[in-house]
Symmetry: C2
Subunit: 480 residues, 2 copies
């Protein structure tokens, strides 16, 4: 190996320019003359901006809005115009041009270094042969990649991953989605809305494993009502695609795919035009040089300050999906903010013992919205998780059926549940299901993070006639 | 006067069966064998259910949803079909049949007494010659009626009040709305959406006087963009309608109306097909017999337990608009709940010193949504009100321009402002403007009522990509 060119110096080097890494870099150098670089091998903005949250929501929103319009007397609505929806999605992913994100970096005095970053020692990062040295900190924010199971014939069939499904250019007539999590449930929603006949094969007995059971059931019912064939306790065991070709991201990769599915009772065969694999994620650390800093391959374990455990010297951090705390963009960004604040404080010799310097919300105060039809919005602990954690738990739940929901659309159907810590009379968790309940979630997040007692929530009056009146109904039901 | 028949006995008598009165009655007798009666001279369910909140929102929602659909590529939407919208409105007001509300009362063991209730002495209510005696309490919940100014010719022109505008059966081609408050702003919104050419004459220099100035401006801009002619500093000084006839609620009351409008510079004349008066409210106490219990005519002043000031014996209460605390349905219902709890506790000899027994939110924690286009959602104190109250105030504000808002619709435009008490680092007020921001409000209400410090709100992470991400932007902007 030739010796690399002399190292470039930055105070902070972030490997991986997704939202978590961007936040870490910006916060680490804010209001200072520190310097930062983001090393990115694909697009600055990351998975979320180009291949996940943004394109998926751009594909989902028109379908949700159309459904609302169609259930409102006085409006006549046609759609979806698939081409128009895909064009709007293309605009949201900037046709995979990251120049606006690069401009953001420049405006925040962050250099963008193109290439694959690899840890080369303490405070050292190598980017395709070029050495960068960090004055203060290195932050790993490389995220994860789609996991392709070892099912015979599956890899050779060139299945779609989430990236193809969010960036589809052709809507397959018939599609099999393998998986039962958020990606599978949302992809099934938009593919069906865009006209595909969709089968979802779920290994377990429910969609969206971690959420309250009623939410899982309502999402499955919603998919089935949209014509999706949801099969539980089923897994592909053999895949065959004789006519196969990589025609590019989001394009159908050849001829029909034959998939043998097995459940408890036997096997069945389906033929589809594309297969989407949404079967978990793998940390994007294979090329990261973790061994060079004494870490095993895989996810990077961190403490609440986002510092890598087992690495002395307080210089290595990991934020976002790669630390395996919470695989959600907004929590990765949150970690990035906390991490950046920690780096800044340490660089300036300030104490880091305040609440600002701990990603405390990661553990039991995580909000998540699943943009299916109906939507699922959940924050904190499910009843099951709360009981498992040893809390004395009370719950209250009811259908969301208030004046505001009836007015919103004629087919409004929703459900809400609160999980209450009886010892403190505060909320541990909240789960809502229904159209656009994602926008109802932040109230619950504030109540949980703020530890607002239910006796106080009694005086937080929902405006009438808004959908949020269901909060009043929940508190009344709790009172009995 | 003949002596009335022997008095019927109830533990609690409520005069006025709107939402506030219904809540007071239900809470006063809950989980007890106490008895209650609601005295109602019109429809059980009250102004809100038949002539205000419900029909107005039924008229507004289709227009809002149509606008959203029209700004979503991939959807082609026609509308509004006026007949369909009016039919849906009729369903929401149950064609002015209150049997479902009467059934609710029966299910809650509340008798409905038809007629005009009048206070006849301590714990005595006369209903059209029949005497009712209250064992514990009488609650006045008669609300308010529309105020018609003394403008020459105005009464003779049989103008529409809010009742006609919410229950319109014919859409006037040309309509003048007199007033600049919530009723005027909302009526202008739906009348324009249903095809009327609308002029709004506002005496002052802004719509929606009490809200943050930016909210007033955005609502005015929204109306103007919808083709409404909003005129400030203008008042009608003479009205003439030669061909006039009372053709029924929500029907055009005769031929064209000529209205002379005066502003600082002079007078102008407009001709319209109907005139809507939305110029304030008058307490519905004229027939209430307030003198019999030693009270002056007008609004009934109450303390935080909703007890009428100046009436000894703790037996007379007033809830809802008639007590002039907050003229909003949800706050009237809130008062009803508190009042009912107070009555129940006193009846059972329990102490009433807990927070449950005070309508504490009435003073500075009141949420309100104005369902214009854009919507206005506000809770707590405006900056001006906070400064006037002597707080050391900081503010932060910005346009609502996050991924979630861009995804929601292509023309999303919104703005948000927080008013912060610098002494405690908590929120005093929040105001949001934009499409459907009404559903964003409860988060702010919980933060304010819960007195959650901003340092804690930092860990209440909005889910991505929801519109509620603007909370993060506000906190980041505050941090600077």
């Amino acid at each position: 190996m030739n010796s690399p060119v002399p190292a470039a110096e930055y105070d902070v080097i972030v490997i991986g320019g997704g939202p978590a890494g961007e936040n870490a870099a910006a916060y680490a150098i804010a209001n200072s003359d520190r310097t930062a670089a983001i090393v990115e091998r694909e697009l600055v903005g990351g998975e979320c901006s180009y291949w996940a949250c943004i394109p998926s929501k751009a594909l989902l929103r028109p379908g949700h809005l159309l459904a609302a319009a169609r259930h409102m007397p006085g409006i006549t609505a046609d759609g979806l115009d698939v081409e128009a929806v895909l064009r709007r999605r293309d605009e949201f992913v900037h046709d995979h041009d990251d120049s606006s994100q690069v401009a953001w970096a420049r405006d925040n005095r962050i250099d963008v270094v193109r290439g694959t970053g690899r840890l080369a020692g303490e405070r050292l990062v190598e980017v395709d042969g070029r050495l960068l040295r960090a004055g203060h900190a290195v932050v790993v924010a490389t995220g994860t990649g789609a996991n392709i199971p070892d099912t015979p014939g599956l890899r050779d069939a060139l299945p779609w991953t989430s990236r193809d499904a969010t960036n589809l250019h052709e809507v397959p007539d018939r599609v099999l989605i393998v998986g039962g999590g958020v990606v599978a449930s949302e992809a099934a929603t938009w593919l069906a809305a865009l006209g595909a006949r969709v089968i979802v094969s779920v290994r377990g007995d429910a969609l969206l494993g971690a959420v309250e059971p009623f939410a899982r059931e309502r999402v499955a019912e919603g998919l089935m009502a949209a014509g999706v064939d949801v099969r539980f306790g089923v897994a592909p065991v053999r895949v065959s695609r004789p006519d196969v070709a990589d025609t590019g991201e989001g394009r159908i990769h050849g001829g029909p795919v034959t998939v043998e599915l097995r459940d408890k009772t036997g096997t069945s065969v389906v033929e589809v035009d594309e297969i989407v694999v949404a079967a978990g994620r793998t940390p994007a650390t294979a090329d990261l040089g973790l061994a060079a800093v004494g870490l095993p391959d895989g996810y990077i374990e961190v403490d609440d300050r986002l510092g890598a455990r087992g690495v002395p010297g307080d210089w290595l951090y990991a934020v976002g999906d790669v630390n395996h705390r919470v695989a959600l963009t907004h929590m990765g960004k949150y970690q990035g903010r906390v991490c950046g604040d920690v780096i800044a404080a340490r660089a300036e010799g300030r104490p880091i013992d305040g609440p600002r310097f701990a990603a405390s919300a990661d553990h039991a105060q995580v909000p998540q919205v699943v943009f299916t039809a109906p939507e699922v919005a959940a924050v904190g602990l499910s009843e099951e998780a709360a009981r498992r954690a040893g809390y004395a738990v009370d719950t209250v739940e009811l259908d969301i059926a208030v004046a505001g929901s009836s007015l919103a659309r004629d087919d409004y159907a929703g459900h809400a549940k609160l999980v209450i810590d009886t010892a403190t009379d505060t909320l541990l968790g909240a789960t809502f299901v229904g159209p656009e309940v994602g926008e109802q979630l932040h109230a619950a997040t504030i109540a949980i993070v703020g530890a607002v007692p239910l006796a106080t929530l009694w005086h937080a009056v929902p405006a009438f006639p808004a959908v949020s009146e269901f909060w009043l109904r929940l508190l009344e039901a709790r009172r009995g």
